[in-house]
Symmetry: C2
Subunit: 261 residues, 2 copies
């Protein structure tokens, strides 16, 4: 793709696209990954390509729940690692939880490729130093983030085939899972197992959005940046959360964008 000028109004969006095209060429993404990203682009456009007030509340709640959890895990797929891997490693470093590569269209090659990319990202994150406001030992905190997903020794009950595979010590025994960009069936299966499921999903009408415990309706890279800030500065505990309200707010914002013309 062509070089994108610093001043391009849609620079973030074009850079994200370019990262995905590169990752696809390296075989890191499922066939449907680019189409899924395109759907997200359309919803993000309607959302105004910004983190809304209501998403910010959801981000706060997600961090509170991750912090309060006994065994939190961050589950990532290809698009997530490519677009938001570094910031999710920062979140994992502060929360002190593992990251698990878990793919709907699972292949050993892609799992291995994404773990290797995450491992490089972890080095980067370590070397770039602590985010503003972090007061602990950054080098140790980042170094201790476990990267899981190769084990295949756990199963998500209620699912069949490769998409049921998980790490026994990761998603298998987690009480709370942050899963950006999750599929509806899997979101449902995890909820049925009694887990807290925290998602990032640009489509407020998706089954995932509607079934999750907390839904951040936001673009995954932007949301992850906000998650890092909140993980470091946030103090509040989990609340009685009305997830329907944030979905309603997102729908209103999008409908407004369509009507404002």
């Amino acid at each position: 793709m062509a070089k994108i000028s610093e001043s391009h109004p849609r620079r973030d969006s074009l850079l994200a696209r370019q990262k995905l095209v590169d990752a696809a060429e390296r075989g890191l993404l499922a066939e449907s990954a680019m189409i899924a990203h395109g759907r997200g682009e359309a919803y993000d456009y309607l959302l105004g390509e910004q983190t809304t007030e209501s998403s910010l509340l959801a981000i706060r709640e997600v961090v509170a729940r991750l912090r309060a959890a006994a065994r939190p895990v961050i589950s990532v797929n290809g698009n997530t690692v490519v677009l938001a891997g570094e910031n999710l490693i920062r979140v994992a470093a502060v929360i002190q939880c593992p990251i698990e590569v878990n793919l709907y269209y699972r292949s050993p090659e892609r799992v291995a490729g994404l773990l290797s990319l995450l491992s490089k990202q972890r080095e980067e994150v370590r070397n770039k130093g602590a985010p503003e406001g972090y007061t602990g030992d950054w080098f140790d905190a980042v170094g201790s983030v476990r990267l899981m997903g190769a084990e295949e020794d756990g199963r998500i009950e209620g699912l069949l085939g490769p998409r049921s595979i998980c790490s026994a010590e990761g998603i298998g025994s987690a009480d709370t899972v942050l899963i950006p960009l999750e599929d509806g069936d899997r979101c449902e299966a995890l909820i049925d197992l009694g887990k807290e499921v925290l998602v990032i999903d640009l489509n407020p009408l998706s089954r995932t959005s509607m079934m999750a415990s907390v839904t951040i309706v936001d673009e995954v890279a932007r949301a992850s940046e906000a998650l890092v800030r909140e993980t470091i500065t946030g103090q509040s505990g989990p609340t009685q959360w009305d997830n329907q309200r944030v979905l309603r707010d997102a729908l209103d914002t999008m409908a407004g964008a369509l009507e404002r013309v």
Copy 2:
């Protein structure tokens, strides 16, 4: 991808996706083609995955204008050929106009690959026989559809680089161009040249949708089926067309989908 059952409620959408994945593997699509398709999927979902009353009026108007044109051309890109090639050949056969492969991200390989695919589709369309209601000599009508785009002997004024290239006898000298899935800059350049630009675009807010002479807000495969029917049965001539109205209707339908939950 997995086999899709005959009864799957989203069969058309999944089949379209599979066709694009296959075409991408054969190098027929630009890098951004899958992302563009994903964006379309999101808007189509909001549209209810159906041809609305208002799109049907636009389809009627497009056919009337193609029929009234002195030199009509149908311009196609990779996604269009893959998703709607056969039906657009049928339209071209009835109208008796050429089809030109014209790519925003132009490469000689993709132009050649798409011309070869179109040529196979033309054979298929010929052998499958005339659509219901057609009374002429189908074999001759289809056989005489010229497939253009390899010539590179024309230029679209107002554009720079490979995206300005066209066929002098095709888009170069056309008075009316049907371009499903067109880019905004090119739509504008063609309008500035005084041509009628008829488009199919699922995003009613895109520059293409807003600048075109007539916009069919519909999925390209579905719209092309309707175009074939209208080309054969339609009788009406061009009208004083209010394109803002169809865009307004599409926006209302989509906003309604977001509010109906």
